[in-house]
């Protein structure tokens, strides 16, 4: 059975809407306990109140800044290390055992250590995001370089490409699809980690908001937090689609072929 692309687009919009409608119906009809599962409408109203009071922007803004700073602190060195590992057997030999040994450690488990090291301020948040991001970026970048057809390395070598050119003009663009895929995952993980980190040692942020409302049993308000992370997640997907379009012009399907 073939389905037209317009139909598919419509279905993918309709499915989350339908879920919300069913949820609302169940809540209104008394089929679910609204103390735990408040109606979407009630959550939306709470959310709107928080938008009007500005509270929502403060908390979201703080979390977003933490994610972005932490992400950059992890992703930039991650790409550099991954490329170096892909190009240099020596760097690979040094890094690979270290990564294999430390990658499985749950990064949230290091948060108390970071709080000891950096205090309760922003730095401990940046650090835990960065450490979560860097592994995914390193591993994906490295795999990306390994997956580059040998012939491009040969071309670089035969034409006397400098080390910098091999890095920037061969390895980086060759691995870019993998790098962006790794960053996509890493940003999703960063969202997850920041909420967990803010449960513990924070006075603001999306995680703090959820935890604080849970403690005072303001369930509708508590639901606003996950909603926001969902929206941020959606925005990040869109952002990466845009990044792929901008940074990989050779992948664009062109119409005038």
């Amino acid at each position: 059975m073939s389905v037209s692309s317009n139909t598919l687009r419509l279905v993918s919009i309709a499915s989350p809407v339908l879920l919300v409608v069913i949820w609302q119906a169940c809540a209104s009809g008394g089929l679910i306990d609204t103390r735990f599962f408040p109606a979407p409408w009630a959550v939306a109203q709470e959310g709107w109140l928080m938008v009007k009071s500005g509270e929502i922007w403060t908390h979201t803004g703080i979390s977003v800044v933490r994610i972005l700073v932490g992400f950059l602190l992890g992703a930039v060195p991650g790409v550099i290390i991954g490329l170096a590992m892909g190009l240099s057997p020596l760097v690979r030999a040094i890094m690979q055992p270290l990564i294999s040994a430390t990658f499985p450690i749950p990064k949230v488990a290091i948060l108390p250590l970071f709080i000891l090291m950096f205090g309760l301020g922003e730095m401990s948040k940046y650090a835990v995001i960065a450490i979560s991001v860097i592994y995914l970026v390193i591993i994906n970048t490295y795999e990306g370089v390994r997956g580059i057809n040998r012939i491009y390395m040969d071309v670089g070598k035969n034409f006397g490409a400098t080390r910098w050119m091999m890095f920037k003009d061969v390895a980086l663009p060759g691995a870019l699809p993998n790098i962006l895929a790794g960053m996509r995952m890493a940003l999703a993980v960063a969202l997850l980690i920041i909420v967990a980190a803010e449960f513990l040692g924070a006075k603001a942020g999306i995680g703090y908001l959820i935890w604080d409302r849970w403690q005072i049993f303001a369930i509708e308000k508590m639901y606003v937090g996950p909603m926001k992370t969902a929206i941020l997640g959606f925005l990040s997907t869109w952002l990466f689609d845009l990044a792929e379009y901008l940074f990989m012009p050779w992948r664009r399907q062109d119409s005038n072929r």
Binding site: I151, Y152, D154, V155, F159, D169, P173, P249, W250
Partner: protein, 267 residues
């Protein structure tokens, strides 16, 4: 043996072995070979006889196991080379112009100078309207034109061509052979050209080196320049009675080697 001043490249008892943890296979040699300055040498031989390995040694991509490769200096400097690879040799992430300018960038030429040289070469291979196109927008023949332009752009003393047209259809191949000859006639660079096609070797080469089955050595060298003078007309060559004679001569040298290769286990 040719006189030293005519010579551009000399292989002296060169061998190449590929060693794995369990075995060692000698792919090439020992081979002795002189390549004349400005000559177009085609290399024929059964699969796996190390034709490509000879090019890769010259191109700095591999090192011989034993023996010497001597390059006669030009005005006191070591001759440069550039390789035209089989299909997929151009970078998918660079547009035509940046692909052609790649070797110039490696030589640290300024952006403007790179652009000018690249533009000239792109025009020369007839891709003027495709400067900003990416490889996925080009046909196989156009991609190989880019590859040829990139090699000529660095103005190398030696051109190494590894079955550049092998993946193309017959019609495109004929057109590109004629174009290659036209561009080559302008500069008469020393060319080492690996091919599987006897026809291609006859049309392009001054001399044809036929290699033995693995480990590849010199089986015989057939002079074509004496029969078909330059500049050449590809169609006229194919129509001439000499064409068939040269073809038979090359095939006679090659046939036993191809049969030997076909009888090897795993062949």
């Amino acid at each position: 043996m040719m006189r030293a001043e005519e010579r551009r490249v000399a292989f002296r008892a060169v061998t190449k072995s590929f060693v794995s943890s369990t075995s060692s296979v000698t792919a090439v040699g020992p081979i002795d070979l002189d390549v004349r300055d400005g000559e177009f040498l085609c290399i024929l031989g059964p699969s796996g006889c190390g034709k490509t390995t000879l090019l890769r040694i010259l191109g700095g991509l591999e090192h011989q196991t034993t023996g010497d490769v001597e390059l006669s200096p030009i005005d006191g400097r070591t001759p440069t080379n550039a390789m035209v690879f089989q299909e997929h040799g151009i970078f998918p992430w660079l547009n035509v112009k940046d692909n052609v300018a790649f070797g110039l960038k490696a030589r640290k030429l300024g952006r403007r100078q790179r652009g000018e040289i690249a533009d000239t070469l792109i025009e020369k291979v007839g891709l003027g309207h495709f400067k900003n196109a990416y490889p996925h927008q080009l046909s196989g023949g156009m991609k190989q034109r880019v590859s040829i332009a990139r090699a000529f752009a660095t103005d190398p003393d030696i051109l190494l061509m590894d079955e550049p047209f092998a993946a193309l259809d017959e019609q495109t191949k004929i057109l590109l052979q004629a174009e290659l000859l036209r561009i080559w006639e302008e500069t008469r660079k020393t060319v080492l050209y690996v091919t599987h096609s006897l026809d291609e070797a006859i049309v392009l080469a001054d001399r044809v080196l036929v290699m033995t089955n693995r480990p590849g050595r010199t089986k015989s060298i057939i002079d074509v320049a004496g029969i078909f003078p330059r500049p050449r007309d590809v169609e006229a060559i194919k129509r001439s009675p000499e064409y068939g004679l040269v073809f038979a001569q090359i095939w006679e040298a090659l046939r036993d080697e191809v049969i030997a290769h076909a009888r090897e286990p795993g062949a």
